[in-house]
């Protein structure tokens, strides 16, 4: 799966080439699956914790609230499967609320613990800006990296969120955007990539992010 570098690739064969999308609820899973189809990447939904642990590539889409997402993940032990696969360095893409549940907690759902892949609490945007943030915001990389060293290039990404991580946790590389102050637009470490924006709704730029993720080798060796 290391040959895809652009925004499109040929259809993949067999389970190793399939992105497993964690079915946490309805939300915009149809948009996510349509984006994979446009990229020629095979993808399907799963709620099987064994598949979530073992699959070559797993995507956690953004749905509803922090609390609802965690409740759905805990029901079948999907939270634990995700925690383990990320600890093993397996390619994992988390989107929007998917990024937020990797933190320890969120102001959105007090008392609900997150998966805790990294420290930090997700907080609401300040009252000085319109909330939710709806629209395209400029994403930049403070580290100055570019693909293939980073999963994304500077560009405009589509966001739909009321809560955000204000600072990147130590040991993670990140991309930043601004809405009433800087916030984490994306985080990555090894083969784990979490985006606050919706790559599936961010035009060709966003499809490029998804294609780079799908092109990661399944063994967790990465170029990021």
């Amino acid at each position: 799966m290391s040959s895809v570098t652009g925004t499109s690739g040929g259809p993949r064969e067999g389970p190793a080439g399939t992105v497993m999308v964690v079915a946490t609820g309805v939300a915009n899973v149809a948009s996510v699956l349509a984006a994979w189809r446009r990229l020629g990447v095979s993808a399907r939904l799963t709620r099987d914790p064994a598949e979530v642990l073992e699959a070559s590539h797993v995507q956690l889409p953004g749905v509803g609230s922090f609390g609802a997402a965690m409740e759905s993940l805990r029901q079948d032990g999907l939270d634990e499967a995700l925690r383990r696969r990320m600890a093993l360095g397996r390619p994992t893409l988390a989107i929007c609320v998917g990024l937020q549940v990797l933190a320890e907690a969120s102001e959105e759902s007090p008392g609900v613990p997150g998966i805790g892949v990294f420290p930090g609490v997700v907080r609401r945007f300040p009252g000085t800006v319109r909330v939710p943030q709806f629209g395209w915001n400029a994403v930049s990389l403070p580290g100055g990296q570019r693909p293939p060293e980073a999963p994304l290039a500077p560009g405009h990404a589509y966001f739909a969120n009321s809560y955000r991580l204000a600072e990147a946790p130590g040991g993670w590389q990140w991309a930043v955007a601004d809405h009433g102050g800087p916030f984490v637009a994306a985080l990555w470490r090894g083969a784990v990539l979490a985006t606050q924006f919706h790559p599936e709704l961010s035009g060709p730029w966003g499809l490029g992010v998804m294609a780079r993720f799908a092109a990661l080798p399944a063994d967790g060796r990465t170029s990021w």
Binding site: V26, A27, R38, S65, R130, F134, G135, N137, S202
Partner: protein, 252 residues
């Protein structure tokens, strides 16, 4: 900063894009998926599709249209028209919508907005508010595609709907819709000041100056139909104009 959005609107009936004046006298404007794809390529930030058919058959066709648009579209899609329940909203999301707008049913039961916000996320719940000027001043809410005046103050309803769960307001001036006389800036400013969520201006756009004026009045996004369907302006040319006027927009 999050950029200001330009949103082409597809009024869809029986699988075709139509457009009329004051919601009447609909004319055929083309294939929804082909138009949506073309607007994305031009730099549209989002697409809104309003199902203006009034029959159960039309509703089923609308779901097919949403699927067809989703297959080719890589930007957000908001769908509205005839959404009466959480199940309707869910069906639209499953077909490929990212947000759902509700109008009459939310007015009759604001609990629908709460149900959508809780079940699908506040980012999915868009209030579609059609408003008209009152002879005595102020604005009142219209429902049933503008056919029924409610007497309810539009600004007060916007506040209540946002408190109930709406994450965005799609604000249409019934007086201006399809007339090309420009957005109703007084209405827009009043609602923008009243609610903390993004407001999309709709109804009356004809010239680029109309969009500039809407942004200056506080709109986070502008919706337009005829200006694009009739080919007088492409989204990218329009954004070029907006950028020259100092409005921050995303350029492709």
């Amino acid at each position: 900063m999050v950029t200001r959005r330009v949103i082409p609107c597809l009024d869809v009936r029986d699988g075709r894009v139509v457009k009329g004046v004051r919601f009447q006298g609909l004319r055929d404007q083309g294939d929804p998926a082909a138009l949506a794809q073309s607007y994305e390529a031009q730099g549209a930030d989002e697409i809104v599709m309003l199902d203006v058919s009034a029959t159960p058959e039309g509703r089923r066709t609308a779901l097919e249209t949403v699927r067809a648009i989703r297959e080719v579209l890589s930007i957000p899609l908001t769908v509205g028209g005839g959404v009466r329940s959480l199940a309707d909203a869910r069906a639209l999301l499953e077909a490929g919508a990212d947000k759902v707008s509700v109008n009459t049913a939310a007015f009759e039961d604001p609990g629908l907005l709460s149900a959508i916000a809780e079940g699908l996320g506040r980012q999915c719940a868009v209030l579609a508010l059609d408003a008209a000027r009152r002879p005595e001043g102020g604005f009142e809410v219209l429902v049933r595609s503008g056919r029924q005046r409610t007497g309810r103050d539009a600004v007060a309803w916007a506040r209540e709907a946002v408190a109930a769960g709406a994450g965005e307001v799609l604000l249409t001036s019934w007086d201006r819709d399809g007339t090309g006389e420009g957005y109703d800036l007084d209405l827009l400013a009043a609602v923008c000041q009243a609610v903390p969520v993004p407001v999309i201006a709709s109804g009356g756009a004809d010239r680029p100056e109309d969009l500039v004026a809407a942004f200056r009045a506080g709109a986070d996004a502008v919706l337009a139909a005829s200006i694009f369907h009739e080919g007088r302006w492409t989204v990218d040319r329009l954004k070029e104009h907006l950028a020259r006027e100092g409005i921050e927009v995303r350029r492709c």
